[in-house]
């Protein structure tokens, strides 16, 4: 019965796994990028707008896993939002198809500053296997300034999580009140 399951769940504690420590090297290089651009800090949270720019759906399977119970992205202060006006990060998957180019540019320009662009998956990094097709531009970098590339086909949830947490740390560094736990 469901109530038994509920009781067992309450007693057993959360099923989310223990996260690895943050990659300080990536965080430091991202922090450098922020300084160069004189960006204002966003605080210790990131609101992500996911944009499918021609993905086969593989990166989405791993992103969904990242959001759900086992990786539980929200506990790091990272969540997905529905509107570009609420987003700090544009997270793009897919090789950026010509049919979606307008929508991507509109979403990016609708985001308030400061904003980041993260390319997730080999397709978003440089077009991946679809490089050279008449229907794709070949990666997010051909159109928007990219802050973080997360390669893999698809990248594992751990890998995406490591990248996003590095971005969070780079962004929050210097805020003494917040520990790195």
């Amino acid at each position: 019965m469901l109530w038994r399951r509920l009781v067992r769940t309450l007693l057993a504690g959360p099923i989310a796994g223990t996260p690895a420590p943050v990659d300080t090297g990536t965080a430091a290089s991202l922090a450098g990028r922020l300084d160069d651009r004189g960006q204002t800090r966003l605080g210790r949270s990131l609101a992500i707008l996911h944009l499918d720019a021609g993905s086969c759906g593989g990166c989405e399977i791993e992103l969904r896993a990242l959001r759900r119970a086992v990786y539980d992205l929200e506990r790091f202060g990272i969540g997905f939002v529905a509107s570009p006006r609420h987003a700090d990060v544009l997270l793009v998957t897919g090789p950026v198809t010509r049919n979606l180019l307008d929508a991507m540019e509109q979403a990016y320009s609708a985001m308030p500053d400061p904003k980041f662009v993260v390319a997730v998956g080999d397709c978003a990094v440089d077009g991946g296997v679809f490089k050279g097709s008449y229907a794709v531009t070949g990666g997010v970098g051909t159109t928007l300034p990219v802050d973080l590339l997360i390669s893999g086909c698809p990248p594992t949830p751990e890998r995406i999580l490591a990248g996003l947490r590095a971005l969070l740390e780079a962004n929050a560094r210097g805020q003494a009140a917040v520990s790195l736990r």
Partner: protein
């Protein structure tokens, strides 16, 4: 349902026209190459492949009697430039006027900029709610246009094509081994199914037999992929009705199964693990045990998961989301049994055979989490001369449109989640 197809029958124009005037046999897929159009039909229990030559850029349309043909006819026009004479809808489909050429797969592609993204055909007296192509959440790119009266959805019209990557063009001129990477990336939730169907089409074209161990390993991978896909969809459905515990448990088991797949086959989604001629590598030591453990965990949780379709909110709401959830649960139950049996009696044999370099034509099918997938190809001295890949989303999206008619806007999220649709499979 048999997945073996008899050789293609070339039809005269009159025979094809007769096909266009009868309801049966039902249509599974329609596509073209530079010279002919092809229709895959369901003839009783077995699929039947027929074709006819395109004359003066035209062929008789099937859409007047088979509404399911209409998206295919628009796709054939956008990619190859063949017009469906007498068709019910001549709006563009994949071509939104953004490519360097129109009809990019024709012998002589046309100039660019001849078209725009298709206009919506909703009644102008209805209020329209546009959703997409960027919908937030973690959703595939698609534009859902709702024609509403108050809170009621009178009609839903979908515009796809946003994820069109020109995959079929990239496959031309490649060897089957090289092109298999594209088949594996048409729709990731069914990557194994597409790889198997593509491999079967190649093997049928070349007349080569696959070792029994490779066949068994393919079936294991397909079973695991279906169970993980079903769990993903159930997790989304539970989330949509606020059953967080069931959503979390489904997601947990899907994750455990994907980790076991990584141990057994070296990739969480088993992408590129099936290749024409067999499988890429044998199952790793410890792999069968890892998959077995993940499956036992799911089997133990099944009584709880079966409560999902009975949840009050799911039953009381429109669109038969509960029915689709039950179907997914049946898929999980059956799949666990099949994979257990396969792992218990794995034949000792090679895992792949070399492919001859030859010419031929073949078609192959396989079962994915969303339904049957079909691949067809023609090889010319070991290179792909023409190919087509059909994903079940071709029929599932129109099914969603029909289901939403008369539904409530509030139910859209739940019903969309229960379908578990992706765009890439249709967008090619």
């Amino acid at each position: 349902m048999s997945l073996t197809v008899s050789p293609r029958r070339g039809l005269t124009r009159e025979e094809w026209a007769r096909l266009a005037s009868e309801m049966s046999p039902p249509l599974l897929a329609l596509w073209a190459d530079t010279r002919e159009v092809y229709a895959l039909l369901r003839d009783g229990d077995a699929p039947l492949l027929v074709s006819t030559e395109v004359m003066d850029g035209e062929y008789p349309a099937l859409s007047p009697v088979r509404p399911g043909a209409v998206w295919f006819e628009r796709m054939v026009h956008d990619l190859w430039g063949h017009t469906a004479a007498g068709g019910t809808d001549h709006r563009p489909w994949l071509d939104h006027g953004r490519w360097p050429n129109s009809a990019p797969m024709a012998l002589r592609p046309g100039p660019d900029g001849r078209t725009e993204a298709p206009e919506f055909m909703l009644d102008e007296h209805l209020d329209q709610v546009p959703l997409g192509p960027v919908r937030g959440g973690i959703e595939p790119a698609a534009h859902l246009r709702l024609g509403v009266r108050g809170e009621t959805i009178v009609r839903l019209e979908t515009r796809l094509g946003y994820t069109h990557k020109g995959t079929l063009t990239l496959m031309r001129g490649k060897s089957p081994r090289a092109a298999a990477r594209f088949a594996a990336r048409l729709a990731a939730e069914a990557t194994v199914a597409h790889s198997i169907a593509f491999a079967r089409a190649t093997e049928a074209a070349l007349g080569c037999d696959v070792p029994s161990r490779a066949i068994a390993l393919r079936d294991v991978m397909a079973g695991v992929e279906q169970i993980a896909g079903h769990l993903d969809v159930l997790s989304g459905v539970a989330e949509a009705v606020g059953l967080e515990v069931l959503s979390g448990r489904s997601a947990w088991h899907a994750e455990m199964l994907r980790r076991a797949s990584n141990v057994a086959f070296g990739h969480r989604l088993m992408m590129d693990c099936v290749v024409p001629g067999g499988v890429a590598a044998d199952i790793a030591p410890g792999g069968p045990e890892a998959i077995g453990r993940a499956l036992s965990g799911i089997a133990a949780e099944l009584p709880d998961l079966r409560l999902l379709p009975e949840a009050g909110e799911l039953v009381s709401r429109a669109g038969n989301a509960a029915g689709r959830a039950r179907q997914r649960l049946r898929g999980i139950t059956d799949g666990i049994g099949v994979v257990h049996d396969l792992l218990g009696a794995m034949p000792e044999d090679a895992v792949s055979v070399p492919l001859p370099v030859a010419s031929g034509e073949g078609i192959g099918g396989a079962n994915g989490p969303g339904g049957e997938v079909w691949h067809w190809l023609r090889l010319d001295h070991g290179q792909i001369a023409a190919a087509f890949m059909c994903d079940p989303a071709w029929t599932r999206w129109p099914e969603l449109e029909a289901t939403m008619e008369g539904g409530q806007i509030d139910d859209l999220g739940l019903i969309v989640a229960s379908f578990g649709l992706t765009s890439s499979g249709v967008d090619l």
